[in-house]
Symmetry: none
């Protein structure tokens, strides 16, 4: 009682309960989206896995789209932190780190990545969110290219168009190899990262002797 923590108020206890429920729902949602994809995921499946009444879902989310958004935010959180590249240092390493981040993120949550694709085709809000997210990434790539051009290291190409193309390359390679047709025995993440990094590097950087 003399400690600097306030006694747990009535509301904080309830809050704790609510948070638990919310977490159960969010975890369940993540799992179901991962397994079933966006459209095939039903509210009932989520609440059922979370051992909750259906109505409880709507206490914590507006609707399926909202729940997916929150699941994405969490997974994205991890992905974005990975994407928080070091922009300083060896160009090749920077490139590699960027490529690695994206591919690893998709490889880690292939079902969610696939659901994102599916959700975007089904729901304009999800599409808009994703496109906005992509735009940020591409913008950063464009900035990197521009900076390297200023330093005389990168070739003379339109930074934004190049960023679009290179970002697309990484993204689609990742989605195709790890989120679509996952039955194929894809090459390991590392080999893929190496190959893509190599292409990216030579596409952007100038004169490297013989390659």
């Amino acid at each position: 009682m003399t400690s600097d923590e306030p006694p747990p108020s009535r509301s904080s206890l309830r809050q704790e309960r609510a948070d638990t429920t919310r977490r159960q729902l969010l975890d369940a949602a993540r799992d179901v989206f991962e397994e079933k994809g966006y459209r095939a995921t039903t509210i009932r499946a989520i609440t059922s896995r979370a051992s909750t009444a259906q109505g409880t879902f709507y206490l914590h989310f507006e609707n399926k789209e909202d729940a997916f958004g929150q699941v994405l935010a969490e997974v994205w959180q991890g992905m974005l932190s990975m994407v928080d590249w070091e922009w300083e240092g060896d160009p090749r390493e920077i490139t590699r780190s960027a490529v690695q981040s994206v591919i690893a993120a998709v490889a880690m949550h292939p079902g969610i990545a696939r659901a994102l694709l599916e959700g975007s085709l089904d729901n304009e809000t999800i599409e808009a969110r994703w496109m906005a997210s992509r735009a940020v990434l591409i913008e950063r790539i464009a900035e990197l290219i521009a900076k390297e051009q200023s330093a005389g290291r990168a070739r003379d190409l339109d930074p934004l168009l190049a960023a679009h193309a290179l970002g697309s390359m990484v993204e689609w390679v990742a989605l195709n190899r790890y989120a679509l047709a996952p039955e194929r025995h894809a090459p390991g993440v590392d080999a893929m990262v190496d190959a893509v990094t190599d292409l990216w590097y030579h596409a952007v950087y100038r004169g490297h002797g013989s390659g």
Copy 2:
């Protein structure tokens, strides 16, 4: 048509009718898929546009997936013929032609391209077909790279992995820019083709002075 043909048997007449109906359905299906996408397309919408009864659809197609497959076969036909690149000549021109083919094909049938993506996420058969189709394309790219390597023009890289990455780049750029979010004021096809070709070329070919 005048006399040297046997009088059309009853069955051939019937066959002719059936072919007409089939064609109407196929045209209608193509249009509706283009407009609505895969999931949003209903059998009723197709038969309605074809001025046919709903049941008639099932005389000519097994189900929606089958109809989409047949639509795709026709459109693909056109797309693949465009992809029938000239593999001889100036490497840069070969590259450009390949890039151009893919982007133009998507730009010409954006709705179908989007529906293909959507259908693949919804239906394993469609996904498998697409993946098979992709594999052919990628295989050809890999062969091209290998050949250029033999000729000493291309750098030393894994042809298949590189083909995957480069094919993905072109494909996803095309889909993103022309089939998804088409409201964005995308750069013209030509500018995009130039930019992608340039990246591809420098990524693959060796030593080009300063770039």
Copy 3:
């Protein structure tokens, strides 16, 4: 076969079937609306009573509102034909006939009348339909009053306002006595008609000695 009737075409046979189904649904809808009112009536209740699948309902009606509209049209049909008064003859008889028509119509289908009231409060389309229907009736009453004024028989009063008030009187008496609170032992239709007619007559017509 030699008669002038065409042999029943395939479609007419099917049409007949469809008409039967439609009739079953319409009858069922009328009964359920009559029993349960507007809101409490569910599609399932209707199709269940009609021994039909739920989907079949939507083959014949757009939705509940539409079905109610069609039920109303039939019942209304009967009511309107009753309301197709003779506008010539003894003023008192005209008045009586009008009053009688409305009250009898409600007394004959009290549940539907109640459902109409309920539906109007729930659904703007239904409300609009009813209001339009009322407007016609009131307009006719107003015309009658105006005519009687021209003939020097009716008092000098605003025909439209009077029509509103008198129409409301009949309508609400009917609804209250026969559609709401039907548990009360209401006076017989005839006594009510007499009383209302008498009030109406004296309210409108001029100088009748002592009454």
Copy 4:
């Protein structure tokens, strides 16, 4: 308030709190019923407007029906006091006053009036309350008519039936014009009151020359 009162006991303080809460809820309920009508009013909307938890509602009311009843009691209170006509004086003025009271009451709380109608169709208890309330009013009208008949002023008609009809006329005119379809450019309250009064008067009172 200053000193001659005993110090408020803990329970009376609590009571005071409760009364405040109750009042907030009642005010909120009145406002929401007025705005949304009976069915569309949710407990959540009421407690939300009252800045109260949902559970609190059930400490003060049994359910929605009960809350509406209490709201009605308050509003009715006001309405009934208006209906506390002067039963002495010029017959025409008495009539006018009665008509005016009803119409003004509805015009003052159109939403509540509409909700009453709606609630009556939804809930037997509300319907019974209303019917009981109506009965009192009609009874008084009947008494007035009987009295006027004794005085030789009113015509020879069944007082109760006439009261039903005349009460209905006023009530339904008011509800229609001011609580339902309020978008119509209704005639002003005064014009309507005049017209209805005029009809009522001539319907009931005897021999007034030419009108």
